[in-house]
């Protein structure tokens, strides 16, 4: 029952009373008939709630499958189809169904393939082709007029409205997976309301489907080797594996033996020596790649697809793809606040898939570090609860104590919201009454629960979820120390002449590199190659040529970008100097150049060449 009904009923009862007292039959009749009409509408609505609402069973098919054990790919389109199991008898009511989109999905368009004819014949019932919800900046009058016109132009493509005779049995939309991790479809928000918006009931129908989103990768194409393969004198301590095999480099000539392939016969040499000679080729020695991915909290901040971690997983997956294509085993060390996880080096397609799955699981945001309570957290949680648990915010069931203490209307609203959210959290997490009371009065306990709720709701690590920590000075040091341990661990598990790729955000840690450099030196001393890849916040390499063009008017964003690039350039040069001194190479941002650099390192390992000149790429 909405506020409108209450006004309607009060007006009807008052005028009925007046009509009876004053002896005005038409007034009495009008008031009584309006009240009776309201009663019949209520009865009709209750009938729908009791008998039709439970029949709204919905199925979701993602890429044609209902099973949630399939994997999706980041940055690729998926097709989501929703099916209504039963036909509903809706009279005088409409049923709005919204598929709650995961934060890791970007809505693209309403898809019309295989849609039943009902959707196409009812333009007002079918979702319109629009990218996203239109901004709410339009005036309330225009919105009111559009509501009167019954246009649902502002309806996003994941919503549909059902009414009598306008029931699409199947509808769908396309979406793009933003980043690696997981895609959790939580359910549908279903709203049953009378056509004149007098009665309304909102429910969240939980139909959870969780998919693993594998990281995207790029085939970086042909890369040109930075080393000359033949006539290379390896460094002291580096041994080439000179063994005959099926490689491309000539190893030696030997006398023909029975069973040697005819195509390997060296005809000219055989003619000169007057005996059959065959060519022997070098064996292609697989060189293992160890990818160390630093997924600490700083790399997880930002929306999905804009995190530094997304760049890192992209580089790691691309390198793994190319190494797998070349027949080299790929392993990894995944590091964050939860600890260090090793992915054993494996080769082949199966090993590549295993590595991608590990990266995808690693990309899922864990519970964020505890942050102090902020009012924005409450706002975000309020919005999430309104979407996922509208029934718990109902004032009929979620009571809270009234305070006669005088306070401003804004403060009273905040208090009301906090009590309602605390009650809902107590119900969701099955808390005791004591813990329920603690949520109301203890800010830290409340913030912890809110963070957990927002994180489980798939909200990315943005401002309401995490706040700048008071341990800002200590965190990078701990991170660098852990990174050093990771490199040591990789060296400990390494065989001979491996490539260790460290993918980490080091640009802001140039001054504390001494926690990492000993491990790097140790790795190089043990004849491994160490390569660093640093993602940048701008997703661009801080090249030297970036400058402000004063001939035209620059936007604030462009100026900020130039300033940020200049800052990154300075940091990158310092970082490169430090790493170069140790013999490690550095590449910035997740572009193809980074992948090429790593593949060149791999190539150098195979050829036994000396160290690469780690230039700022």
């Amino acid at each position: 029952m909405t506020f409108k009904v209450q006004l309607f009923a009060i007006a009807g009862m008052m005028s009925l009373f007046l009509g009876l007292v004053r002896g005005q039959p038409v007034l009495s009749l009008l008031s009584l008939s309006s009240l009776l009409w309201l009663l019949t509408e209520w009865g009709l609505f209750v009938w729908h709630v009791r008998f039709q609402f439970p029949k709204a069973i919905l199925y979701r098919f993602v890429n044609g499958e209902r099973d949630a054990d399939r994997s999706l790919w980041a940055e690729r389109l998926i097709d989501v189809r929703i099916q209504l199991a039963n036909k509903l008898l809706l009279h005088g009511v409409t049923l709005d169904i919204e598929d709650i989109l995961p934060e890791n999905l970007e809505l693209i368009a309403f898809s019309t393939n295989n849609v039943t004819a009902d959707v196409l014949t009812i333009p007002s019932a079918a979702p319109k082709k629009s990218q996203t919800r239109r901004p709410e900046s339009r005036s309330w009058l225009i919105r009111g007029v559009q509501r009167f016109m019954n246009y649902r132009d502002d309806c996003p493509v994941n919503e549909v409205r059902l009414g009598l005779g306008s029931q699409p049995t199947e509808w769908g939309y396309s979406a793009r997976v933003r980043a690696a991790g997981n895609v959790v479809f939580s359910g549908f928000r279903v709203t049953l309301q009378s056509t004149h918006h007098l009665f309304r009931i909102e429910r969240f129908v939980k139909t959870e489907q969780s998919f693993r989103a594998l990281p995207s990768f790029v085939d970086a194409g042909e890369y040109r080797s930075l080393t000359k393969k033949s006539n290379v004198i390896p460094r002291h301590g580096v041994h080439r594996l000179l063994r005959s095999g099926m490689g491309s480099e000539l190893l030696e000539l030997k006398e023909y033996a029975v069973g040697d392939p005819f195509k390997s016969i060296a005809w000219k040499v055989s003619a000169k020596r007057d005996q059959w000679m065959t060519r022997q080729y070098e064996s292609e020695v697989p060189a293992r790649v160890q990818l160390i991915v630093d997924g600490s909290s700083t790399s997880r901040v930002g929306g999905f697809g804009f995190r530094l971690l997304d760049q890192m997983t992209f580089v790691a997956a691309s390198v793994a793809r190319m190494a797998t294509n070349a027949g080299d085993p790929v392993g990894g060390v995944l590091m964050d606040e939860r600890g260090i996880r090793r992915v054993p080096p494996t080769s082949g397609e199966k090993g590549f898939q295993l590595f991608l799955r590990s990266l995808a699981d690693f990309s899922v945001n864990p519970c964020p570090p505890p942050s102090p309570y902020q009012p924005r957290m409450l706002d975000a949680a309020w919005a999430l609860l309104n979407q996922r648990y509208p029934e718990l915010l109902d004032l009929k069931v979620n009571h809270f104590p009234f305070s006669i203490f005088p306070m401003t209307p804004g403060a009273r609203t905040r208090r009301r919201q906090r009590f309602l959210v605390a009650g809902s959290l107590a119900e969701i997490y099955d808390l005791s009454v004591r813990e329920h009371a603690a949520l109301i009065h203890d800010d830290s306990a409340f913030a912890r629960r809110l963070q957990h709720l927002l994180n489980s709701g798939g909200i990315p690590w943005i401002a309401p979820l995490i706040q700048p920590s008071d341990r800002r000075d200590q965190e990078p040091i701990e991170r660098m120390a852990n990174l050093g341990k990771c490199i040591l661990s990789a060296v400990g598990h390494a065989r001979d002449n491996e490539v260790i790729v460290v993918i980490s955000d080091l640009l802001n840690c140039v001054s504390i590199l001494e926690f990492v450099l000993p491990s790097v030196k140790l790795a190089i001393a043990k004849h491994h190659r160490v390569s660093f890849v640093c993602p940048t916040s701008t997703f661009l390499r801080p090249s030297r040529g970036v400058a402000v063009d004063f001939s035209r008017e620059n936007t604030t964003e462009e100026l900020l970008l130039v300033a940020e690039q200049a800052r990154l350039r300075i940091q990158a040069e310092q970082l490169q100097r430090e790493l170069h001194r140790c013999g490690a190479s550095l590449s910035l941002s997740g572009e193809k150049n980074a992948i090429h650099l790593i593949m060149s390192e791999l190539d150098a390992v195979k050829s036994g060449h000396g160290r690469l000149q780690g230039n700022l790429r």
């Binding site: 009807g12 007046l18 005005q24 039959p25 007034l27 009008l30 009409w37 709630v49 009167f148 016109m149």
Partner: protein
């Protein structure tokens, strides 16, 4: 090749659909304006306050009613109608409505419901007009839609008529005004209760119990659990507030004492800037 032709067909269908939709939009806007004007005009006539008013004032009144309809303020229109009736309708001894009054109420109720259901009726009218003029739309739109709309509007009309008839019947039968005396006489003759107050109260309590029971049965298990939680919280709120205040005070004190015992920061390793750091490498090798 077949895929290509399929795509082309799909594109041509989507183009034709877009043109139909744009045509429909124009007809919708015009139709909506006309419908709005008609409802507002009939409502203004029903109000009866505009008699003798100038054109600007009447236009203002019309726009006010149209605004209420657009913003779905049906209750405001009803209130306006009731207020005008309070002011205009002459007082009578009997409450039983006369035929003209009955007709007035029927028309007024229909207009109010039309105002509240304006989008739906408007869509019906528009679809009908579109089907008359647009051949493509006629092909695309099925008769099923019209059948549904006819059925729906008929049900609304029957519902409205019934409510007005039942209200008239109740006003005629209930012992109010002049009927009270005849009721009293009938009660005396038949030895019944003098006033049906007791019966009405019992009936009202029974209806209230039924409604509350129905409401309780409709709520979800999680809502029932939350209701019990919140009731328990309110019952023990004072004590719980006291416990929490005490606990927080103790925590604050413990925190202040713990600040002094903060562990020292991580020591930086000594690293030579040039040459190999043999000590570190040896440690690592060990």
């Amino acid at each position: 090749m077949s895929n290509r032709s399929g795509d082309e067909n799909r594109m041509s269908i989507s183009d034709s659909l877009e043109s139909i939709v744009s045509q429909q939009k124009i007809i919708r806007w015009v139709g909506a304006g006309l419908q709005l004007f008609a409802i507002a005009l009939s409502m203004e006539m029903l109000l009866g306050v505009s008699i003798g008013l100038g054109v600007p004032l009447r236009l203002f009144l019309l726009s006010l009613i149209a605004f209420c309809i657009v913003m779905r303020l049906g209750w405001a229109v009803l209130v306006a109608l009731q207020v005008s009736l309070i002011a205009i309708e002459p007082r009578q001894g009997a409450i039983s409505p006369y035929p003209l009054g009955f007709f007035y109420v029927l028309v007024a109720s229909a207009v109010i419901v039309a105002a509240m259901k304006a989008p739906e009726t408007h869509r019906f009218v528009t679809d009908y007009v579109v089907s008359l003029f647009a051949a493509e739309a006629k092909e695309l739109d099925s008769n099923r839609q019209f059948r549904f709309t006819y059925v729906r509007l008929s049900i609304y009309a029957i519902q409205l008529m019934l409510t007005v008839v039942v209200a008239g019947f109740l006003l005629n039968r209930l012992p109010i005004g002049l009927q009270a005396e005849s009721w009293l006489e009938w009660s005396r003759q038949n030895g019944q209760a003098v006033w049906p107050g007791a019966l009405l109260i019992v009936l009202m309590i029974a209806i209230l119990v039924l409604v509350r029971e129905n409401a309780w049965r409709q709520i979800l298990p999680s809502q029932a659990s939350l209701y019990l939680r919140s009731v328990q919280l309110i019952a023990n709120y004072r004590d719980l507030f006291g416990f929490e205040r005490h606990r927080l005070r103790r925590l604050r004190q413990a925190h202040l004492q713990g600040v002094a015992k903060t562990p020292p920061p991580v020591k930086r390793p000594k690293l030579r800037r040039s040459g190999r750091n043999d000590d570190t490498i040896k440690k690592g090798l060990k």
